[in-house]
């Protein structure tokens, strides 16, 4: 399954959220309702809902959504907490935990029946008296047993049963779209020969061959299981392609160890009828079979291959975590120790050189290699490219845009930008909120867009980049923009500010009101976003990371949400320069070019020194005089590092360029708070400290 690499993250995070939900409910039960606690619970539920929806676990999302409704009423004090509500909420948590555990073990989430709980919750939120003793979430135990029984009930074994593909409504939509686009869906059943040893490799080859013809939109069992050889001999694929069956058969014919390849065109219009009829028979354990998850319910699988093992579920290994969570403090310590090691190594090297101890020098060379590797790893352990977070979003955008019936194109840029692990862990939720917001409230419906003279497809961008001493993450859309007057009105109506205050605010500040707690302009509550928790959560999260979030918007042109995070923990590429005897680092991201000039190349315009570079007049800053560097020696050759901040350029004049290097940014500490000229300092390989220029400040 495509989300497999985020499974660990999802499991870890959802367990954390469940834990805080449990804690919150307990304190609620003990201390009665405290607004802060209810808010906290509500946010946890909200995040859990978002996460599970992103991962495609609709049952979990559904249950949390109902919980959220109840909590929302409590939050607004429209509902009095009583024992019954608390009990029900606790039962929900138990069910959620079970579902998440199931998911973690590779089982479908819907082994747990939550329909009673959902009913009960909705009756609570509707204010009806609780129905008499609704059955608690009893797991539909014995799913594997049902699965084992299924083959008997399953339709004919040999023919390509449509149920084998477990087509969901979404798959159907895909097929229909494909058909409209002149493509067709082909159901392919591949059976490997009995002697086949590397089953996963063969299935990989099959996938590869098919990828050249079209898109494999579905696989049963899921691709993850195929990779791990969690299948018997045959598997089912749905290929959307412009090619004919013949071409498919030819392509697969060249792969050895395939016993049989069966193909059949899948007609989405005909299948609509067939699927619901066939599926319940195939999966008696799953009540909502037509909408069965791509996660491949274990119970439905045997139907696809009746001759297979009786209870494949028993053979499944529990989901094993590939990662170890380490306290970030330990990593800090590790990095500091590393630094000390390097310095001492340099000292030893010096001793070896002064005393000409060849043997020592030789050993140290070996050690040097090890420490360099070690250093790299220690650094890298903390840094994670933002793609770790960004990769979850294309799927979410796709699902959400379908749900909202909008046409949206997501562009991701700068996903290789690295951020500290602590930041990465925290940044996912805020970005998700912002994205959902753009999708839901920003981008208009295609028809409305057309009426406004915009292309039907809305553009949403997710961009990360280094900017000065910050990492900037932007969520952009070309949607409706935010109307400051509307924001003012809502803010007044909600009592966030008074009318008088509202009039004083300029438009930009008025728009920023959306970051205040309890603010939502959406007319209707939707599943995607818009309960007014989003934006203030975003802001508090970002500020907790000592970052900053801002919004820039133009009506009918779109909005840009800009998250700025300090680079204090980041590793960046920098150019080391020398001015007399002092070393400084200039972030490579701000550098345009470097040139070598003669002192006579510097001209003056109105008493300001400039150089002319490719017809452009660029003001220069001499570091030596700007920083009052002690003058030790004269130089007749100068280097200019051309830097930019935004649109403006400047040339920084230095004596020498030392080279490009990866540096770890350290803060200068409290004693230098007023010093904006430097974004920090870094420790160089020889143990000396070099200051890092903040180019944007220098140019002011």
């Amino acid at each position: 399954m495509e989300n497999s690499q985020y499974m660990d993250m999802f499991l870890d995070e959802s367990h954390e959220h469940l834990q805080s939900l449990n804690d919150g409910l307990l304190s609620l039960e003990e201390n009665g309702e405290a607004v802060a606690v209810v808010n906290e619970i509500f946010r946890n539920a909200h995040t859990l809902k978002g996460m599970s929806a992103t991962m495609g676990f609709n049952k979990i999302a559904e249950l949390t959504h109902e919980m959220e409704d109840v909590l929302d009423l409590i939050r607004k004090e429209q509902l009095q907490i009583n024992e019954d509500i608390i009990d029900t909420l606790f039962k929900c948590l138990d069910s959620l935990e079970q579902m998440i555990d199931n998911v973690g073990n590779g089982d479908p989430e819907d082994l747990v029946d939550v329909s009673d709980l959902v009913k009960k919750l909705s009756s609570i939120s509707k204010g009806e008296p609780a129905p008499a003793a609704a059955a608690p979430a009893a797991p539909a135990a014995g799913a594997p047993a049902d699965g084992a029984a299924a083959p008997a009930a399953a339709p004919a074994a040999g023919a390509l049963s449509p149920a084998a593909l477990q087509l969901s409504d979404i798959d159907m939509d895909v097929l229909k779209q494909a058909k409209e686009g002149g493509l067709q869906g082909i159901h392919i059943r591949v059976t490997l020969s009995e002697t086949c040893v590397l089953k996963s490799a063969r299935s990989y080859m099959v996938m590869n061959a098919l990828d050249e013809l079209g898109d494999v939109v579905k696989s049963v069992p899921p691709a993850e299981d195929l990779e791990q050889e969690k299948f018997d001999r045959s598997f089912d694929l749905l290929l959307v392609t412009g090619s004919e069956i013949k071409a498919v058969e030819d392509a697969l014919g060249s792969i050895s160890e395939l016993e049989k390849v069966e193909c059949e065109i899948v007609d989405p219009d005909a299948k609509i009828e067939a699927a619901p009829a066939a599926a319940p028979a195939a999966a008696p354990a799953a009540p909502a079979a037509p909408a069965a998850k791509p996660a491949a319910p274990a119970a439905a699988k045997p139907a696809a291959k009746p001759a297979a093992k009786a209870a494949p579920a028993q053979h499944k290994k529990p989901h094993q975590s590939q990662s170890v969570r380490v306290d970030i403090d330990k990593l800090d310590t590790l990095m500091n120790l590393m630094g000390e090691l390097v310095i001492n190594k340099v000292r030893l090297e010096q001793i070896g050189q002064t005393h000409r101890l060849a043997e020592l020098t030789e050993t140290l060379e070996q050690m040097d290699r090890v420490t360099t590797d070690l250093q790299n790893i220690v650094m890298k352990v903390r840094m994670v490219p933002v793609s770790a977070v960004f990769n979850r979003f294309p799927r979410m955008v796709r699902d959400v845009s379908k749900e909202l019936d909008k046409e949206i194109n997501l562009t991701i840029e700068g996903e290789e930008t690295e951020l500290d692990r602590t930041v990465i862990d925290e940044i996912g939720d805020p970005i998700m909120h912002l994205l959902r917001n753009s999708l839901d409230h920003g981008i208009e419906h295609p028809d409305d867009r057309e009426a406004k003279g915009k292309p039907r497809t809305g553009e949403v961008g997710l961009i990360a980049r280094h900017e000065g001493n910050n990492v900037v993450i932007m969520v952009t859309d070309d949607g409706a923009g935010i109307d400051p007057d509307k924001i003012r009105q809502v803010a007044i109506k909600k009592g966030v500010i008074t009318e008088e205050e509202a009039m004083k605010l300029d438009d930009a500040d008025a728009v920023r009101l959306i970051f205040l707690p309890g603010f939502s302009t959406a007319e209707k509550i939707s599943d995607i976003s818009g309960r007014g928790v989003g934006m203030d959560v975003v802001r508090s999260k970002i500020e907790a990371l000592s970052g900053h979030v801002d919004v820039e918007t133009h009506i009918n042109e779109g909005s840009v949400f800009k998250i700025k995070l300090p680079l204090t923990l980041a590793i960046i590429q920098a150019m080391l320069v020398k001015v007399q005897e002092e070393m400084y680092a200039i972030p490579l991201g701000s550098i345009d070019s470097t040139i070598n000039i003669q002192p006579t190349d510097i001209k003056t315009v109105q008493n300001k020194e400039v150089i002319v570079l490719r017809g452009e007049i660029i003001p220069i800053i001499r570091l030596e005089s700007a920083f009052q560097v002690p003058h030790v020696k004269d130089t007749n050759e100068l280097f200019v590092v051309v830097v930019h901040a935004g649109e403006t350029k400047a040339g920084i004049v230095v004596d020498n360029l030392i080279g490009q290097q990866e540096i770890v940014i350290k803060t200068l500490g409290k004693l230098f708070t007023g010093l904006k000229m430097f974004s920090g300092a870094t420790v160089l390989g020889d143990g000396r400290v070099a200051l890092i220029l903040d180019v944007a400040t220098m140019m002011q």
């Binding site: 990095m335 500091n336 120790l337 590393m338 630094g339 000390e340 310095i343 002092e582 070393m583 700007a626 920083f627 009052q628 560097v629 350290k666 803060t667 200068l668 500490g669 409290k670 004693l671 230098f672 708070t673 007023g674 010093l675 000229m677 430097f678 920090g680 300092a681 420790v683 143990g687 000396r688 400290v689 070099a690 200051l691």
Partner: protein, 156 residues
């Protein structure tokens, strides 16, 4: 209950002081504030920083500001010698190094230091001193670390 004198005595019976030299005078800070004593290493000058901040050094991978104590106290400058040390201290979660001419020893201060205000009639230098300890006629000037570190106040 207890006599005031006894209390004072108790308080200072166990006070250990790291004593160091600035030119010919002896100064001290409580050993509880002292992290370690290091040899002089390369100090990187920080342009635009306050005069008394000599620069920053690398302390096991982190960056530590170094205060030139003679400059801070308004004493005349003198060149580095092989005895010059950087004493790294912690005060209120702030780590700094202070540059001293030599570290002499760890002393046991048994009597309460005299209030510096009474002893010296110099208002400017006053705020950096917390008291003067007397060990058999040997005078140790105790430093008022929060003032010396001079954490930036608002607006600065």
């Amino acid at each position: 209950m207890a006599k005031k004198k006894d209390e004072n005595k108790q308080e200072f019976e166990s006070m250990q002081v790291v004593a160091f030299k600035l030119r010919d005078e002896e100064y001290g800070v409580s050993i509880l504030n002292v992290q370690e004593i290091r040899n002089l290493t390369d100090i990187t000058r920080v342009p635009f920083a306050q005069d008394y901040i000599k620069g920053v050094i690398n302390l096991r991978g982190s960056v530590l500001p170094v205060i030139d104590l003679k400059q801070r106290l308004g004493l005349e400058d003198s060149p580095y010698t092989e005895n010059t040390r950087i004493v790294t201290i912690t005060e209120d979660d702030v780590h700094v190094g202070i540059l001293v001419d030599a570290v002499t020893e760890v002393l046991n201060l048994t009597s309460k230091p005299v209030d510096a205000k009474k002893a010296i009639n110099n208002k400017e230098g006053m705020r950096f001193l917390s008291g003067i300890g007397n060990i058999d006629g040997r005078l140790i000037v105790m430093l008022n670390l929060p003032e010396i570190i001079g954490l930036p106040q608002e607006g600065k």
